[in-house]
């Protein structure tokens, strides 16, 4: 396609990852879907393009100028799946960067993914592979795993803990769970077994959410071994299985501070952790009951800045949002108008009314045109 040819192939690859996900993975199977919680992701993305893209890009460029290579920078940005989400920024007008900078931003997105994922950087095989064989061997040998055949009560506590953690990540990150987790694997073991790794991080954003103070750990990791279960993980960290997970779970462990179960016996460790997370989640739920849209966008601004804190710390600069950004939530009406006019009315019909291959091409062209029009300063909706 002519339009696609005007952009570097690396940029097309990044956009293709997101567009393919919308067309092939989400649209056909979404069914009658309830509204996204706490608001449409596209509205939040509109705000991301108002401050977050610029903030990410300028931070990366400054780190490079200070001598950090891309691999080092990648490790300041947590897992690759949150970086994959940057591809969605092409869906809305990007503010504060030139055309050349936007191109560089999306090329760097691909390069950063290549630093963190092994081989299949866009997870086209529905595997999110971050560890090599040596990492896996080390993980299997280093920690003691608990067989659930011997302890079903513990298994139930474990699956409930994972569900609670997932919701907790969603709440503190305003629906974007991926800002606090990286699920990776499945790593093939012997006898039809696979290893699934769930890393949770940034679980105590006390500067943004007061109720997280009581949460006992900033990060933790679960290691789960399943038998005869097909697990898919896409580039954006959606985990999908055809069957319920618990009945295929063979064994697991929870790692905190590089030790399984923090040195306590598993049952009491799980109970204490579950109770503490439950209390924090409950406090959070009570707090947000009175939130309006502006309150949520305010949290988006703070949490996305917090996401960049490790990189900002390396630069020795304050991670907190600048004063002028704090009035950004006032633009909620503008964001919703853009989403309605340019995404709901123009992009959604392309996906819903065309066969997948055609839908993908058409959507990709729309996104490419969004970027190309930056050149002439005529970006749609970029008033």
């Amino acid at each position: 396609m002519e339009v696609k040819g005007k952009l570097p192939s690396k940029v097309i690859d990044v956009l293709d990852m997101a567009v393919s996900h919308i067309v092939y993975d989400r649209a056909p199977r979404l069914g009658p879907s309830p509204p996204q919680w706490p608001m449409p992701i596209t509205v939040i993305n509109w705000f991301h393009t108002r401050f977050f893209v610029r903030e990410i890009y300028n931070t990366i460029i400054t780190l490079e100028k200070r001598g950090y290579d891309l691999k080092e920078i990648a490790h300041f940005l947590w897992g690759p799946s949150v970086i994959s989400h940057w591809a969605y920024f092409a869906q809305c007008p990007i503010k504060g960067l030139s055309y050349e900078e936007v191109i560089d931003f999306f090329e760097k997105t691909a390069d950063l993914l290549a630093c963190l994922r092994i081989d299949d950087i866009f997870c086209k095989s529905y595997k999110n592979i971050l560890w090599n064989e040596e990492n896996i061997r080390h993980t299997l040998n280093e920690y003691e795993y608990i067989s659930v055949r011997e302890n079903e009560t513990l298994r139930d506590m474990f699956v409930r803990l994972n569900v609670m953690l997932w919701h907790y990540c969603g709440l503190i990150n305003v629906g974007h769970h991926v800002f606090s987790h990286e699920f990776h694997g499945p790593y093939n073991l012997s006898d039809g077994k696979v290893l699934l790794v769930r890393e949770y991080y940034n679980l105590k954003p006390e500067d943004v959410w007061n109720f997280t103070k009581e949460v006992p750990y900033r990060s933790l990791m679960t290691l789960e071994i399943y038998k005869d279960l097909q697990i898919k993980i896409d580039a954006f960290n959606h985990l999908e299985t055809t069957e319920p997970l618990p009945s295929h779970l063979e064994s697991f462990t929870v790692v905190v501070n590089n030790r399984e179960f923090d040195g306590k016996d598993p049952e009491s460790f799980m109970k204490v952790l579950f109770d503490k997370m439950g209390r924090a989640l409950n406090q959070g739920i009570l707090l947000i009951r009175n939130f309006d849209k502006k309150d949520w966008i305010n949290k988006v601004i703070w949490m996305r800045h917090l996401y960049l804190k490790p990189a900002k710390d390396a630069l020795g600069v304050d991670w907190r949002p600048k004063e002028e950004l704090l009035s950004l939530p006032d633009l909620i009406g503008e964001a919703e108008k853009y989403v309605l006019e340019y995404i709901v009315k123009q992009q959604y019909p392309v996906v819903m009314k065309n066969p997948p291959d055609i839908a993908k091409e058409k959507l990709l062209i729309l996104w490419c045109n969004n970027i190309l029009s930056l050149k002439e300063g005529s970006y749609e909706g970029n008033a």
Binding site: R26, R29, L30, G31, P32, S33, P34, W37, P38, V159, R160, N162, V163, M164, W166, H167, G170, L171, E240, T241, E243, P244, L245, P246, S247, G278, L281, N282, I285, I288, R289
Partner: protein, 112 residues
Amino acid sequence: MTTKRVILKGIPASPGIVKGRVRILYSPKDVFKMEDGHILVASETNPEYTLAILKAIAIVTDKGGIMSHPAIVARELGIPCVVGTQNATKVLKDDMEVIVDGSKGEVAVEGD
């Protein structure tokens, strides 16, 4: 042999069959009504329902598809789930004893 009558059909979202009492949550503010072993019935669910979901033995919703929030969570928990029934919150009543079949996407009551 006990017979059963299907009173609701929806999209099968997580397999398994359980029998239990219905608890209808009309909003997240109702989560305190949920007790261990209840069948959670709601128009839709979201993270505000988490503490109720963790007590449920099955989930039935009016809205949603197989990639919707209740469907994903039910598969993680290994409990039956039926989504997209359109009117579960109207047809079912609190404390009704029903059988949820997550494989067939059905909700039934015992008897003819």
